[in-house]
């Protein structure tokens, strides 16, 4: 029986194309809060 062709690679989805800046997770994160009504 012939071997079926390998499935095509999954397309790059929009979800995998998130902004590079969001993939950079800093080692340290600080928090600041300001009331600016």
């Amino acid at each position: 029986m012939p071997v079926p062709p390998a499935p095509a690679p999954a397309p790059v989805t929009a979800k995998s194309a998130r902004p590079p800046i969001d993939r950079d997770v800093p080692a340290t994160v600080a928090t600041a809060t300001f009331a600016l009504g």
């Binding site: 929009a14 998130r18 902004p19 969001d22 300001f34 009331a35």
Partner: protein, 187 residues
């Protein structure tokens, strides 16, 4: 850097925009201290309002929420520098940080939400509401749409914002039409 608008201070727990009580509209910033300092954020905060005016109703007060002695020391130094520069007392208060309640989703990145072109770009990322709120790219787009940001800043980071070629061109044109009310530094 991540930004989230919400409510803090006051006594009412879990405030909402329609049932706010005595908490105050505020913003929480998560940042990488190796890229921007708390002192720089204080400079931006003091430049974004007139600290010599007394605050009004609780909803619209101005104050710094200090979370620890280091923040308190930096905030006092920043307020003193502003007072010296202006030659007037600074009325913006320092208060101990209390619970920060994120505002409703429709308040987050409010300026960006009105820009259909950039919102279509963001839609490609299929973010949940929490991811939308926490996205650095979304925060930056919101700032650019609001006129806060420079051409130089955009040129440095445009490739990292994840926009399509058309989206990048659109944002570039948009930023060049603004003079930028407050440049938020390198970060």
């Amino acid at each position: 850097m991540r930004t989230c608008v919400g409510y803090t201070g006051g006594t009412k727990p879990a405030p909402t925009y329609r049932s706010l009580g005595d908490p105050t509209e505020s913003i929480q910033v998560e940042y990488d201290p190796t890229k921007i300092t708390y002192a720089r954020l204080l400079e931006v905060f003091f430049a974004a309002h007139d600290p010599t005016w007394p605050s009004g109703a609780p909803q619209y007060m101005n104050f710094v929420c200090v979370a620890d002695p280091a923040q308190e020391q930096a905030a006092r130094a920043a307020a003193a520098a502003v007072a010296k520069r202006l030659g007037k007392p600074v009325l913006t208060e320092l208060r101990a940080a209390t619970t920060f309640w994120p505002a409703e989703d429709y308040h987050q990145k409010y300026a960006l939400r009105a820009d259909r072109t950039l919102m279509a770009e963001v839609a490609r990322w299929e973010l949940t509401a929490a991811e939308f709120r926490a996205s650095s790219a979304v925060a930056r787009l919101n700032a650019y749409v609001a006129g806060d940001g420079t051409v130089a800043q955009l040129e440095r980071e445009l490739a990292s914002l994840g926009l399509s070629a058309d989206g990048a061109k659109y944002l570039d044109r948009l930023v060049r039409t603004f003079t930028g009310r407050i440049a938020c530094g390198n970060d």
